[in-house]
């Protein structure tokens, strides 16, 4: 359907924000906690099926090599081994893994003919125990013919011959290249008084949850049906693609979600592990569990984050007015391309940040290298955009000698400009950016810290204050995955990204909500309970929640892109409306009153203005379930009370043909201001936090306690990305830090004593109750703020921060260099 450019669909919001809520906005204790605290959660490794066998995989020691031969005879002869499978054998029964890139990129659950990164699965063993399976892996003999390893992202652009990873996609390692001008870039640059240029490097890190990915698969030969228990998501959205890989019809695969021990994006789909477990279970004739060990997860978990170099330009007027940007970016996708350049679709949602920037040019190159492929990590590419623009803004402040706060105040989008269409065509629904900035400045005592900083400098101490004012887009729409694709091969241009729930009221008047997406480590049960309690004015302890498998579930995209709370609220609210209507009809007969005269009040339905004339929800429910003949003959007034509701994305439009307008795809946009105060020990390069304030505006808050939990957790992920974490590949493509002993998560010792969280609430005009998503914000705001704080601390030495992470070693190197240059 063609629409006029920048068309904004009408809001479908049915529940307006309120000044007083029954259940929303309360810091209710979490529904999920008791089972998780008592050790009763069911994570991927907790699944146990009768007669279950265990799998382990043999990992490639080479970054890039042809597989010449595999001798598995010794492994097969080991007592307790049930089957050993090579890639060639697996490929006879199982097709390639699901893949969303276009043109497609072929990846198998066990490598066929070639390995493309260290850690890639070369063979798999099923045995009576994991111990035996791992012993057997050591007995498999593989002959490799090494190929040139491609490790550097810029060198990858010019690779030829044997260094090309996927010759079937063309004779280059450039997986994707496209340049798009959004708006009048040339004109805006022509008007500029100056152009700030920085070369910025964002390092490869990853979600690396404490729980790895696992699947337990069963193949029933009688029915030809697979059942796979896994800590996956999107199984009710695109899970059927795993059936396609396994070469069965989708209804012959049931995916049962387990609890996930953290994801941060990394468990978005986990299709490779599901496909492998299914393949092995069918071959072994037994249920099979495969759980990644830590090295599997780090080297082959398909969930590394963005790895980019930017040549970035910001055009400004001398008075500080920002005009336009030019971004030339190369992104190292690793060996495969599962989501195409979805991460750059994502980044386009807020590429110009919270500023009144008129236009932007993006020149995007994605390359293949011999590394684990990218997946999703908290921010899905937008966190890098925030780092880039905030570094440019800080550089402009330096150049123009404008205070970083004044610069932001001057350029932030104003409150009366919403809904705001930014240059790529995405919409920012609402906001009050100045209020967020004010709140953060008030909380940190900015002037006080500047004073202390000056005093400390006198004493030879290096204290720095950084600030970031960033967007946190929420509620993705599926168009982000394909909008960058070449016009000749647009891919599967889907536009649905719904979330669904069903709600049953039992005969005693209590409620059960079924979610169609998994527990991913956040608080979906608590969110669903609070929204339903709000709608039905019901005691939250009378509501419980479960999760549908793919046999019973219906279309639901699941968590990701900070969408789950908004989308569950929409779905629960929609289902509750159906329930309410039915309960009102039943109650109206019981109370002999018109439904329009009735109201829900504190666990009952009563006649408005007539206290005491009411029936409890339990009485109404019992009546609805068992006394059909007491009710009128309407055919649609069936026994029982239940509803299923599919809530589509609240507001999204298609991109234009030429992609200079990407349409509205990430419109529920929050905002944040992070202000860390750090002290850098110039002798050791260690960065300590003296204070940290994070103010977020995520619209109406469903639960301030859990939202603050997300802000703090995300901020610490951001501290990891800024200061410690980096998947380090050497020049041969060996991952040097594949264990938690050397891939350094922040520990309690590296994190601020208190991340002080503040909130501003600007409700969205497009979502139920005005809720916005807040799941990724912390990691999207912390890295630029910390980079700025470190740079500010080291200002006397003239150190510039253009790349992360700022490990002690890196910082020491920068300080040494600055000192040598007489800084």
């Amino acid at each position: 359907m063609t629409r006029e450019r920048h068309y904004i669909p009408e809001s479908r919001q049915r529940e307006k924000p309120k000044s007083k809520y029954f259940a929303i906005g309360h810091s209710m204790k979490r529904v999920e906690d008791t089972r998780l605290l008592t050790g009763s959660g069911t994570y991927a490794d907790d699944v146990s099926l009768p007669n279950m066998a265990h799998a382990a995989v043999l990992r490639s020691p080479h970054a890039h090599a042809r597989i010449v031969s595999i001798d598995k005879s010794k492994a097969e002869a080991l007592p307790g081994v049930l089957c050993v499978m090579t890639g060639a054998e697996a490929a006879e029964v199982t097709g390639p893994c699901a893949d969303f890139s276009s043109p497609p990129t072929t990846q198998h659950c066990i490598a066929v003919d070639k390995v493309r990164h260290v850690g890639e699965t070369v063979a798999a063993v099923v045995a009576e125990s994991r111990y035996i399976a791992e012993d057997a892996c050591e007995l498999i003999e593989v002959e490799y013919d090494p190929l040139p390893a491609v490790v550097d992202l810029e060198e990858a652009v010019t690779s030829t011959g044997d260094a090309v990873l996927h010759p079937e996609r063309g004779d280059t390692n450039v997986a994707h290249h496209r340049v798009i001008d959004f708006g009048t870039v040339d004109e805006d640059f022509a008007q500029a008084d100056l152009v700030i240029e920085r070369r910025l490097r964002w390092p490869r890190s990853g979600g690396t949850p404490i729980e790895t990915v696992g699947a337990t698969a069963h193949y029933d030969r009688g029915t030809g049906k697979f059942t796979i228990h896994a800590n996956t998501s999107m199984y009710n959205y695109v899970g059927w693609l795993i059936a396609v890989s396994l070469k069965v019809e989708p209804h012959r695969l049931n995916i049962v979600p387990t609890d996930a021990g953290g994801s941060f994006g990394s468990k978005l789909f986990c299709h490779k592990v599901c496909t492998l477990a299914g393949t092995l279970a069918r071959a072994a004739g037994r249920p099979v569990k495969y759980l990644e060990d830590r090295i599997d997860n780090m080297t082959s978990g398909d969930a590394h984050g963005s790895d980019r170099v930017y040549d970035a330009k910001l055009a400004l007027k001398r008075d500080g007015t920002m005009l336009s940007m030019r971004l030339k970016v190369i992104d190292d996708y690793g060996a495969y391309f599962q989501y195409g350049v979805g991460q750059h679709g994502n980044a386009m949602a807020q590429v110009t940040g919270p500023y009144k920037i008129n236009s932007v040019q993006v020149d995007l190159t994605a390359v293949f290298t011999n590394k684990c492929q990218q997946g999703a990590y908290r921010g899905f590419g937008s966190e890098v955009g925030n780092f880039v623009i905030e570094r440019l803004v800080d550089a402009a402040c330096e150049e123009l000698d404008i205070d970083p706060i004044e610069m932001r105040r001057q350029n932030l989008i104003e409150q009366d400009q919403f809904p705001y269409i930014m240059p790529t065509g995405n919409m920012y629904d609402s906001g009050n950016y100045q209020a967020v900035l004010d709140e953060a400045l008030g909380m940190i005592d900015y002037d006080g810290w500047r004073q202390k900083q000056a005093e400390a400098r006198e004493e030879g101490r290096y204290i720095g204050i950084g600030i970031s004012t960033c967007q946190e887009r929420s509620v993705f729409s599926a168009t982000e995955f394909w909008m960058w694709n070449p016009n000749e091969t647009p891919g599967f241009t889907l536009s649905s990204s719904p979330e669904s729930v069903s709600v049953n009221i039992d005969p005693t008047g209590k409620a059960f909500i079924t979610l169609n997406a998994p527990f991913w480590g956040n608080s979906p049960e608590t969110m669903a309970v609070q929204v339903l309690a709000e709608k039905l004015e019901m005691d939250p302890s009378d509501i419980s929640v479960g999760y549908a498998d793919s046999d019973k579930g219906f279309n639901s995209s699941g968590p990701g892109g900070s969408r789950f709370t908004v989308m569950i609220a929409g779905a629960v609210s929609g289902a509750a409306d159906v329930i309410k209507e039915k309960m009102l009809r039943v109650a109206s007969h019981m109370l002999e009153a018109d439904p329009s005269d009735l109201e829900f009040r504190n666990g009952s339905i009563g006649v408005q203005g007539v206290p005491g004339k009411e029936k409890t929800l339990a009485e109404v429910a019992l009546h609805a379930h068992y006394f059909r003949l007491d009710l009128p003959e309407d055919h649609d007034l069936t026994s029982g009370i239940d509803a299923a509701y599919v809530y589509d994305h609240p507001v999204t439009t298609m991109p234009s043909e030429d992609r200079t307008d990407l349409g509205i795809f990430y419109p529920i946009v929050g905002h944040m201001c992070h202000i860390p105060v750090v002290e850098v020990d110039v002798e050791t390069g260690k960065v300590d936090f003296l204070d940290y304030v994070a103010v977020h505006d995520c619209g109406t808050m469903v639960n301030p306690m859990t939202l603050a939990g997300h802000v703090r957790g995300g901020t610490v992920n951001g501290i990891g990305s800024a200061l410690y974490e980096h998947f380090h590949y050497d020049e041969n493509g060996q991952l040097q830090n594949a264990l938690l002993s050397d891939y350094l998560h922040p520990t309690p010792m590296e994190t601020p004593v208190d991340i002080r969280v503040g909130h501003v609430e600007t409700p969205s005009p497009f979502t139920e109750y005005g809720i916005k998503g807040g799941g990724e914000g912390g990691r999207m705001g912390a890295p630029p703020a910390i980079a700025a704080a470190v740079e500010d601390a080291l200002k006397p030495l003239g150190v510039k921060v253009d790349s992360l992470p700022l490990t002690p070693k890196v910082l020491r190197g920068m300080i040494r260099e600055a000192e040598a240059n007489g800084g």
Binding site: G39, I210, E211, T212, A260, N522, G713, L740, P748
Partner: protein, 157 residues
């Protein structure tokens, strides 16, 4: 491989089993006894998700062999609560939102109880130092530290 017999106490109950001598305690607990509340996060004794109490002191069960435990007393997350459901440390984690995904949580609770046993009124710095062997990827630790401080104070009554 010849099995080795071992007898020890788990959550107050005596267990005798014949195990492959290389069986890790964490696998013994999870697979033989089906006590799946003790988790595995790293395989290399960094994360602390597998923390249990061994003769009253915290221990990483991924770094012990089951056969080392002859005569020992082991307590897991499943064994800390009284019959009424939750140990005060577990209750404190719920009250202070000390968990999100819950995967590190059993280890954190076991560590928290131990910290409370060894320190009169552990302050923030003490708790952070004591947690150096436990990783959490979700919470940023802030609420875990608060939970342990509160749990310690309610354990003292």
């Amino acid at each position: 491989m010849a099995g080795v017999s071992v007898t020890f106490t788990v959550n107050g109950r005596e267990v005798t089993a014949t195990v492959d001598p290389r069986t890790l305690l964490v696998h013994f607990l999870r697979e033989h006894l089906k006590l799946t509340g003790t988790h595995i996060g790293c395989d290399t004794s960094q994360c602390g998700a597998c923390t249990v109490h061994l003769d009253g002191r915290p221990a990483k069960s991924c770094a012990l062999l089951a056969v080392q435990l002859e005569g020992a007393e082991v307590t897991t997350i499943e064994g800390v609560a009284g019959p009424d459901g939750m140990h005060p440390m577990q209750a404190a984690f719920k009250e202070h939102h000390g968990l999100q995904c819950g995967f590190c949580t059993p280890g954190m609770v076991m560590m928290g109880i131990d910290i409370a046993n060894r320190h009169e009124a552990p302050d923030e710095a003490t708790i952070r130092r004591e947690l150096e062997g436990n990783l959490c990827r979700c919470t940023g630790y802030h609420n875990i530290v608060a939970s342990i401080a509160a749990g310690a104070s309610s354990m003292r009554g």
